[in-house]
């Protein structure tokens, strides 16, 4: 974590906050809302994949839990949407705690597989537990948020721009949490475990607790993203647990640069924009993604941010890529 990166993150947020003043195109606004949504997801996944160095393929489960919690709480219990977002985050964090307690004891490969199995189990349950989840039909007409003070409605979220700022607010919270984490001793502990598990234990770091803490924070953030998604799209079905969300966020983390704060944001921007604007190649889009994921992993393991850092250092005459961002 360096100053350059913090500045990059703040610049990203500042530009995002000002953009709607200049560009009013509705489609652009929609694209950016999705970019923010993906940025939250990618940042939350990056905590476990990038800092702890464990590949969790079950992260979509937390997105799904957040989305379903919000859908059920707002349509059946009338909870206001703005209250749903943190509540959905907390429920996802609770699920993260339970799943983490079970799975984080497992060795690398087992962890990858079992997190995938967990997401799959949840998807199948949501598909079959019709009394609670309405099965494959899912929830539609999920109410939009309302912001009012003393009966006076400030924002009713009838326009996209209001959603834009809501998404940006949740993203800002996410980035805040990730920045705090990245600057705290927790990141140091996580990176130590990733680099050398034996030595980390010998100096008193508990790998399990370290990973669990990070995993739960990630689940919380992904749950909030899911809740936002439910209220923005107004429809939630079992596919939120599906592998395609998982793949998309993994791509964003890999392409942007794992183990950094700015990387997932960059990845979400690049891929989010490509996803929405390249709709005309919709059909071959995922094939291209697959190839891209392979190429990035093989030839650009530090992601776009690694490329930036490397060029910068080469300019300064130091050809050395900081391994912290590995």
């Amino acid at each position: 974590m360096n100053r350059l990166e913090t500045r990059g993150v703040l610049l990203f947020l500042a530009l995002a906050a000002l953009a709607p003043l200049v560009i009013t195109d509705q489609f652009f606004i929609h694209v950016m809302v999705m970019v923010f949504f993906y940025a939250i997801l990618a940042s939350s996944l990056n905590l476990t994949v990038g800092f702890v160095g464990e590949l969790s393929l079950g992260h979509a489960a937390f997105l799904g839990i957040g989305a379903y919690a919000s859908a059920i709480l707002s349509t059946e219990y009338g909870l206001p949407a703005l209250a749903c977002i943190p509540v959905a985050g907390l429920l996802a964090a609770l699920a993260g705690l339970v799943i983490g307690l079970i799975t984080l004891h497992l060795e690398g490969h087992f962890f990858v597989l079992i997190t995938l199995a967990f997401a799959e189990v949840l998807r199948l349950i949501v598909n079959n537990w019709i009394e609670v989840t309405r099965g494959p039909l899912g929830f539609s007409s999920i109410p939009p948020p309302r912001l009012s003070i003393g009966g006076h409605v400030l924002m009713d979220f009838s326009s996209r721009v209001q959603f834009y700022y809501l998404a940006l607010a949740v993203l800002a919270v996410t980035i805040g949490v990730v920045l705090l984490y990245a600057q705290s001793a927790f990141r140091v502990g996580a990176v130590a475990v990733r680099e050398n598990r034996r030595l980390a234990k010998a100096v008193g770091i508990d790998p399990f607790r370290q990973a669990l803490l990070t995993f739960v924070i990630g689940a919380f953030l992904a749950g909030m993203a899911g809740s936002f998604y439910a209220h923005y799209i107004t429809f939630v079905g079992p596919e939120v647990f599906g592998f395609s969300f998982m793949v998309t966020m993994l791509m964003m983390v890999a392409l942007g640069g794992k183990g950094t704060v700015l990387g997932p944001l960059l990845g979400a921007l690049l891929i989010g924009v490509a996803l929405e604007y390249l709709r005309f190649i919709n059909e071959i889009r995922l094939s291209v993604f697959g190839i891209l994921l392979i190429l990035v992993t093989m030839y650009l393991p530090q992601g776009a941010i690694g490329l930036l850092a490397w060029r910068r250092m080469r300019k300064a005459g130091i050809v050395k890529v900081s391994a912290v961002t590995r």
């Binding site: 705090l180 600057q183 140091v188 502990g189 130590a192 680099e195 010998a202 508990d206």
Partner: protein, 269 residues
């Protein structure tokens, strides 16, 4: 005063092989003790048992009066017993400074919110830790390499970094597994100085596994000798090197302090 560390009749079998049999000895506060013996004598196994990486088949380990036999490695370290590894073990992807930061993890973390938010006490801890890390780097002579990635260090520098990592974890006892292996005579001399300084200035109790007899003889208060998983001798250096069983264990090489004998022992060990 009770011993700081007490190993009570520890035995460890791997399959049918006895790696350590009925080992018993004690470490007093502020002592430097060396564990010597030919390869395969069970020294590293004993290290693993003390630090919780391996559980003994029988016997107990007590630290500061408490039974630590069944603790996990990180719990043992949290109580103040920190080790280095025989094969160079650092966080190779991190810079030298970050290596120490990682080792200071325990004192940098507090309750969740305080740690996350970096509140004032966390910041104070941070500053104290930074000062301490700077001092450690100066002591081991790596301060000019603070921002260098560890994997770019020379071998001798890595061994020193390992010790600095161990120290950064604020140990009461530091267990060093062959710290002088691969060092040249100048570096070894520096190591001896460093070990004495640690003991004197920081009050750290040291347990070494070491093959380099010039290092062992010059720093140790006491020596424990192992062979074939058993303790065969224990005492001050002058006594141990006259012990007939010790000499036999080293294939009859005499244990005079001259270099020739020490090298002979090295070759056999």
């Amino acid at each position: 005063m009770p011993a700081l560390l007490a190993i009570d009749n520890v035995t460890r079998m791997f399959g049918g092989v006895v790696a350590a049999r009925d080992i018993a000895f004690e470490l007093q506060r502020g002592e430097i003790v060396s564990l010597i013996g030919p390869n395969g004598a069970g020294k590293t196994t004993l290290f693993n048992i003390i630090t919780g990486f391996v559980k003994p088949s029988s016997g107990r380990v007590h630290f500061d009066g408490a039974d630590i036999t069944n603790l996990k490695p990180q719990q043992v370290a949290q109580r103040g017993i920190v080790r280095t590894f025989q094969i160079t073990n650092v966080f190779s992807g991190l810079t030298v400074g970050e290596n120490l930061r990682a080792a200071q993890y325990l004192r940098l973390t507090g309750p969740f919110w305080r740690t996350m938010l970096g509140l004032s006490d966390a910041r104070d801890r941070q500053e104290a830790a930074d000062r301490d890390a700077a001092e450690l780097l100066r002591v081991v002579g790596l301060e000019h390499l603070r921002d260098e990635t560890a994997r770019n260090l020379a071998y001798g520098q890595l061994r020193l970094l390992e010790i600095a990592i161990g120290l950064a974890a604020s140990p009461k006892i530091l267990l060093l597994d062959e710290p002088a292996a691969g060092l040249n005579s100048e570096e070894s001399a520096r190591l001896v100085e460093l070990l004495r300084w640690l003991c004197r200035e920081r009050g750290i109790t040291l347990l070494l596994v070491e093959h380099d007899m010039s290092v062992v003889m010059s720093v140790s208060d006491r020596i424990v000798v192992m062979n074939f998983g058993q303790k065969i001798a224990e005492g001050v250096p002058e006594v141990v090197k006259q012990d007939r069983r010790v000499i036999e264990a080293y294939l009859g090489a005499s244990l005079d302090e001259d270099d020739g004998a020490a090298n002979g022992m090295n070759a056999d060990a």
